[in-house]
Symmetry: D3
Subunit: 162 residues, 6 copies
């Protein structure tokens, strides 16, 4: 596996995402974490902010790069000459949707998707749940990398002040 | 991904298995298809017969080797210096069990399992279903490689004669 | 839908099975309830006993007939010129297995399977659960037709005496 | 089964839908494909456009008619004197929701729902996925009937121009 | 189990909810049914109306109280000194999401969630389905308590007049 | 919740079981861990051995008692005047079967079953997997209580010598 893509919104990235990046980095020569630019979906962090946080988070992983894309994932992978998408699976409801996408992407351009079983400790983690808890003052330390925690709290207090 | 293991009973191997082998061979430098030797479970083909059929089936895939093992998969993988198990996922009921095994294997020795979404055409295929259909005279051509089909029919007619 | 088949072991038939028969009888011109003869699986009632009970149970449904078969269901359906199999679905775990069988049967001979959502009242019913409860003296009245209840109790007291 | 209803949005209809229509047409004397008019949900094609495409698509199936409805499906079925709804099931996540609707519709007016296992080749197909891929210039030929493909491309280039 | 919380929107409460309340009341010394105040989600009934209906509905259950909360459920439970959340499970799709929430709540503050298997008769019931059916003139008697039925019909006719 | 029952085979008990016992002990005044005596199923440890290990394992939990039973769980619970069964849920495949049993037990004698979401760390644990790993010399420390580990290794080495 020469080059693998980890696509997602990462708004913000969690320790569950980081677990997937590290495990993908063990398997592929090069891993590209690719932030999906989706103008029709509102987000807490801008794409630039998300990329910046991801770059710091994956700094200890030398073969992981950060990038962004819009449009079809199959087109982006072709352009980057990546053969494989790597995804973490948490639960059965993930599986059903992800299997559908994987089969469609394989049909569209023989793009392969491999699924990693995530660390069970992160099975209940999602970016949206983390944001919801932090917004109401809940403690999300240990659920996201420290530098994400800091910016998440700043962002939320700024949002509340605004 | 330098060396990946595809473990299974392969009694006999089907076109669904072959699909997984070919896709694993695209991703890893070397793929070892490893037949599990399980003396407590009865089988139609001997381990030797299964290995022989697999060798012919994967002949066109230069980086795929056939082997057998008994005991724990994690021990076998350590011995063969393989870092990754590759499995095809067909349905949700597969997923639940396989995820449990994957998490246990990761805990036992950081052995990684990656799941490939199988070709939907083979989603309903299993060795046991193929044997059952063939036993009652049903047509399994197209479900197994041709050379497997031939030996399956011989084996079954021999079993009935015996 | 001219002729539909409801295959099964029916060891013994439950009110859940009867619910499926009645609903199939509303949809098809003729319904054949077909008892699978499986010599490798032990059963509480003989095939003859099961057929006799079924005949009494479906007596009020004029377009339902009882029959038995062995071998492949697709062969039996072709022989009886039936185009459709009717199955009740109770739970997700049923669904996964039944979908696999349905897709295989469709591939083998274009035999169609239709699934009926069973009455939620019978969602937790199965022949094996009914037998287990009755064996330990639990009350299964209301779970099986009255005439089945009577013979089930006779059979179990006979088994215990034996 | 005299008259069966295949309800849906069909925005636009895919080869998966067409597979369900053809199989329903084999089982019922008459099949009505009924477009749900839902004013609160935005759509790519108008109801009139969807009906026109469906009429061309089912032209080779003499016992399939196209219609539209709003309000409750049970009321529409009663009005059209249809006894049965036919639905294609693709995945487990479909099943859970559809079973809930089926049990509610049965309770509301004894309206029966039968589920067909779709062709595994179309398991990953949905109207929304087709629209998303086409919008980004992906190739959806083979996923929708040819006449739908043509209008989908026109519609999307028109939307982009607008 | 001294004090248990049944959280939800209850817009409006159904006979399925009432079934959960009664069963929780058998197990805990005190049950608090807590209406989640969510200003970003539109509702048919105001929080005050929902509380009033719930109070009438649970009047025969002496150890069940009605309350409302906003913010994080874990904070509300700590404030009310409740150790346990009680939830009814209807289907597998419920389970996946609820298990994720339960594990997060346990991590956040050792808050325990227990799941009750609902009466299969109410497995297909949800507030949103009840509202949809009633809006189109369908009969929801038997799905909600009588006093809820009355106000639901008033509310809907008022909405239509408005 | 005055008295709750945790039924099972516990051959042997794992840290996942212990997690369920401790959490049940927080919720109920008294918890009875009840070993099912099933003469038709072979086991590694005798019922007496399993009871002895359980007694040592739950020694720090003053309101947890160990017992054994045969026959129907509903009869045992009635005899012990227990109103509630407590079960840990690990995965979706557990859920389907357990929900069926829970609904049957409720119907048989209004016996309530509550499900606890297990610690995700133990989601992949089962007695049979632990036995299989230990048999092949794998390391199961941390998966079972220390005293169970010791006897498991003794038992297995004895089995191999025998």
């Amino acid at each position: 596996m020469r080059r693998a893509i980890c696509p997602g919104s990462f708004d913000p990235c969690t320790n569950g995402h980081l677990d997937v990046f590290s495990r993908a980095a063990e398997m592929a020569d090069e891993v590209i974490v690719a932030v999906l630019i989706n103008k029709t979906k509102s987000s807490l962090f801008t794409v630039a902010e998300r990329i910046e946080m991801l770059q710091e988070v994956v700094a200890p992983l030398p073969n992981v790069k950060i990038d962004s894309f819009h449009g079809l994932l199959v087109d982006y992978c072709r352009e980057r000459q990546a053969q494989v998408i790597v995804k973490g699976l948490r639960a059965v409801s993930d599986f059903d949707y992800e299997l559908q996408m994987a089969q469609m992407n394989y049909r569209l351009s023989r793009l392969e998707t491999v699924f990693i079983s995530t660390n069970p400790l992160y099975g209940y983690l999602s970016s949206s749940l983390v944001k919801e808890i932090a917004t109401y003052g809940g403690d999300v330390a240990g659920l996201v990398p420290d530098l994400v925690l800091e910016r998440l709290l700043e962002k939320i207090s700024g949002t509340i002040r605004a």
